[in-house]
Symmetry: C3
Subunit: 401 residues, 3 copies
């Protein structure tokens, strides 16, 4: 198939030597070639699956998941990705384990990895904690593999940390690329990452940061919009700025939602908690000051309530290019009159974009599978070609289900 051949061909030409045997953490630690390879591999795996060609590359093996925050779609995406490659899932449920017993991250990481091929972790609740935890896990399994304790070294897939949400942002980017017919068409497109009101408190910053940290890589004009007080981490803004310079795009900030929406091609609009408040919460948490956390929460909710007009309303959407910018959200959204009295988006806007939003979400399992795939094969283009040549049906005895 032409499309598949072209993807495999592209992957074969990219410089991705550093992905083999490595982990997938923040996108800003990956080269453009590495990000392209991830997207192309995701598309190639999806293409094989659509043609009922098995992508099972493991005869047996385990994918370990650790969710330190609730999750439906990321949990199912990780399971799906593992399953399509032939790995079974074993979840580390920290409540059913003896981890409270006081053992170190280093120990737990090794103990769960004797037959692990991949570890997926979501740890996004506390600033400065999630990324550190993941690096501790990586260091532990690397060390244990070097000492001959582990026969293989499981690679880590970052399923959301306190700074970035790489599987989300790459799935989002894949969606945009498909909408615009190619990565080469992103140049000059205006994408807005806008804060929105939600009655809930303390949503992670990592989606907003993931979007500005990734979309600035490929020439887009990225606008970050939020009320005063909802600043994201300065380090990530710095990354976005440098990305834009390098890619020939731009990175702008504004506290005016209308200005942001004007002539936008893509609207990404969701709530998050201010970085400084998240930092304070992490400190209070560290001290075990739960009264302090409650008080902070109250203040945040009051502050939040001042910005109820920050919402992807019909009126706001009219300001976008031709009034029909691509509307995006990582889901679930706080929909006004549906899941919240006042929320991030008008019900009619959400409904109009529903199919596209679900399509957006559909890229995530493939992006995760691609991350695993690229960590496991030195010559992924050849393996993809081998899979097509092998031509095993995913479900046997039938042409179509």
């Amino acid at each position: 198939m032409a499309n598949f051949d072209s993807l495999v061909n592209k992957i074969g030409k990219l410089n991705i030597d550093n992905m083999y045997g490595e982990d997938f953490m923040q996108t800003w630690h990956k080269s453009d070639d590495e990000l392209k390879a991830t997207l192309n591999t995701a598309d190639a795996l999806r293409n094989l699956r659509e043609r009922n060609i098995s992508t099972k590359v493991f005869d047996s093996g385990l994918g370990i998941s650790i969710f330190r925050d609730n999750s439906t779609r990321t949990r199912f995406s990780f399971t799906s990705a593992c399953n399509m490659l032939g790995l079974a899932i074993q979840d580390l449920d920290e409540k059913k384990s003896q981890i409270a017993h006081g053992e170190t991250v280093r120990e737990t990481a090794t103990m769960i990895s004797f037959m692990a091929d991949v570890i997926g972790i979501r740890d996004d609740m506390y600033i400065g904690k999630g990324t550190k935890y993941m690096h501790d896990v990586i260091d532990a399994v690397k060390d244990s593999a070097q000492q001959g304790i582990l026969e293989q070294r499981p690679n880590l897939v970052d399923l959301q940390d306190d700074e970035d949400h790489p599987t989300q942002a790459l799935a989002d980017l894949d969606h945009i690329i498909h909408e615009y017919g190619g990565i080469e068409n992103l140049k000059g497109k205006k994408i807005v990452m806008s804060w929105a009101y939600s009655p809930s408190y303390g949503k992670p910053l990592s989606v907003a940061q993931a979007i500005i940290g990734l979309m600035t890589r490929f020439g887009m004009d990225v606008t970050l919009a939020h009320p005063k007080g909802y600043e994201v981490m300065p380090e990530v803004e710095e990354i976005a700025k440098k990305n834009a310079e390098k890619s020939g795009g731009s990175f702008t900030k504004t506290n005016d939602m209308k200005e942001a929406f004007k002539d936008a091609d893509v609207i990404y609009c969701k709530s998050w908690a201010p970085f400084k408040a998240m930092e304070e919460r992490t400190e209070l948490y560290g001290k075990g000051d739960f009264d302090g956390i409650d008080k902070l929460e109250e203040e945040l909710l009051q502050h939040n309530a001042e910005f109820k007009d920050w919402s992807a309303t019909e009126e706001m959407m009219k300001l976008t290019k031709n009034g029909n910018a691509l509307y995006m959200h990582p889901l679930p959204a706080d929909i006004t009159g549906v899941s919240a009295a006042e929320g991030e988006v008008d019900a009619s806007v959400f409904d109009r974009y529903r199919d596209q939003l679900y399509k957006q979400a559909s890229f995530k399992p493939y992006v995760i599978a691609a991350m695993i795939f690229l960590s496991k094969f030195k010559d992924p283009a050849k393996v993809l070609q081998d899979l097509e040549d092998r031509g095993t049906a995913r479900h046997e005895f039938t042409g179509k289900i």
Copy 2:
């Protein structure tokens, strides 16, 4: 093998075009041929397994389970069915998910289905809710498949709703057929679906309804027995009446347990809550009136206690044909002196029928596997034959375990 050949032969002659790509909800929405195909396929799959011939038709893929009520045997049956076909299980634990976040059924259904081949749901607690929920899930995944969001459309297996319990009743029917040596021998056999006392409150009606809704399909004489006030849904009684007319059997109701047991060939005897009370509970639940629910529960328990003599005692069993009717129960039973001071059945009766009761339960995994199988293959007879011809050992390198 003769038996296998005969099953495959029968399946090949049935009109089951409407099963391919569809779901399995209430038995009364299935034709006689479709029900027979389900039973024959269950038997054929069991036959292959007994001969250590692999029934794995999926190289990879997922079965999603959603249990909105506790479950051991149905959970294990669904897992077993998926496993024997090559699907891994991913459970949607609504407590660990973000579903409380207010997202719609439509959204959740799509989000868990990107790589789902089948979805099994148990939702039996509230009248009018379970079936509706399942149809919402079906509509959502159908729609998402049509929109190209899902690559495949997972088929739904109803693992118990508020009206019917199709996997239970079909496993039960398969058991009866095996006991009597063929579906053609059911004509004229008397089966009693009798209410029984249990100290617990609010057991689902769906088993009782499933039994009268299914057993009337194949010429049996079905008697529904319960104390006044324990009526089931009138719509299902109507279905049972029409079934009996069509099949040449009969459907009778009585409030006299002794009359019911007299000369019965099969006794199915278990507790349930009255339909009207369940309806009231659903309304109270809808209003969030938990005090009202507690009050209703008390009334029900008092009412219940008036009918402690409704039990499958030795004395009652003596009334049945030759004093040795086939005793059935979906398990677990409230056994007098074992799991309850006074319960649904005498310990000595239960003990005498224990092996048969367990045999009865053993059909469920195969019935579920058959439902999945028939939804996935256009020509299931051919696929079964192909499986025998392929002859892969389920466990390798050995003839017998």
Copy 3:
């Protein structure tokens, strides 16, 4: 490969006819040949995996796990063992099941076993309970298989009971054998099973008992050391004594930790609760006397606190042979200054032995896999050879990950 050939050769010569189709409970119910076969099979399976040769002997099938106590490493070890043989895991979470409903062990055991190939159980909390529960499960599935209710009879792997911890002790023994270059080198080596202080209450006796019950089998000089009042079960001491007589080793007891450590080759040092107290707790539990349990706990903690000097300190370790005995622990350990103010071991001792401790733990998945393997194949040596000859890559298309 020479090592693999030699292992297969050894297994082929052992008398292990009684392992086929059977269960793995306490090591003292297994012959020396059976224990050697378990260790050799574990090593052979590990060898295949290290060479990326698939050990998948099941095309489909289920391993059922029942954890009646929290677990990380044993849970992951069991999952890994099942996965490498081709079995999927289904956990029986007693909280999500209807087991509270009052059903019998016999019933539950059958209901979860319709497609089960193996059942792994951890039940170590109450003296006299765990082993009994496991035997009840075994009796149930044996009976159900004989009655034709089950198509196959799942074999049980004891993942820790109230008396023994066979998977732990055999993994430990495999570690010692590897450290000393062969089972024939164990003769005359001194191993100490010593009690140690921990601030927690009521750790199972089963590890200590497992060690003295197993290490006395192969000619080692085994010393059991603990403060007065921390006696283990007299029956197990009796077993250790007889083992030592038969194997040409020795079994000594002491209440003096220093005397025990002197010139020791191997130190196994961990906390446990006294047998008599555990027995009392079981009785109180049986009566539902939870105040009594709290009171007992307090007394135990006070008693415990008198022996804070029982710890694997640097000073104590200096007493061992050349000051560098092999230090062992089943993990997680209570490390002084790390996971406890005062604990079972000095942080510097633990750190120095960390890699060896993790290596020790790495044998457990293979030991469990070997137990399953030997219960499933009449001629395991031939099956191992067949696996090498088949030579399927565990992960395809690549030589090395």
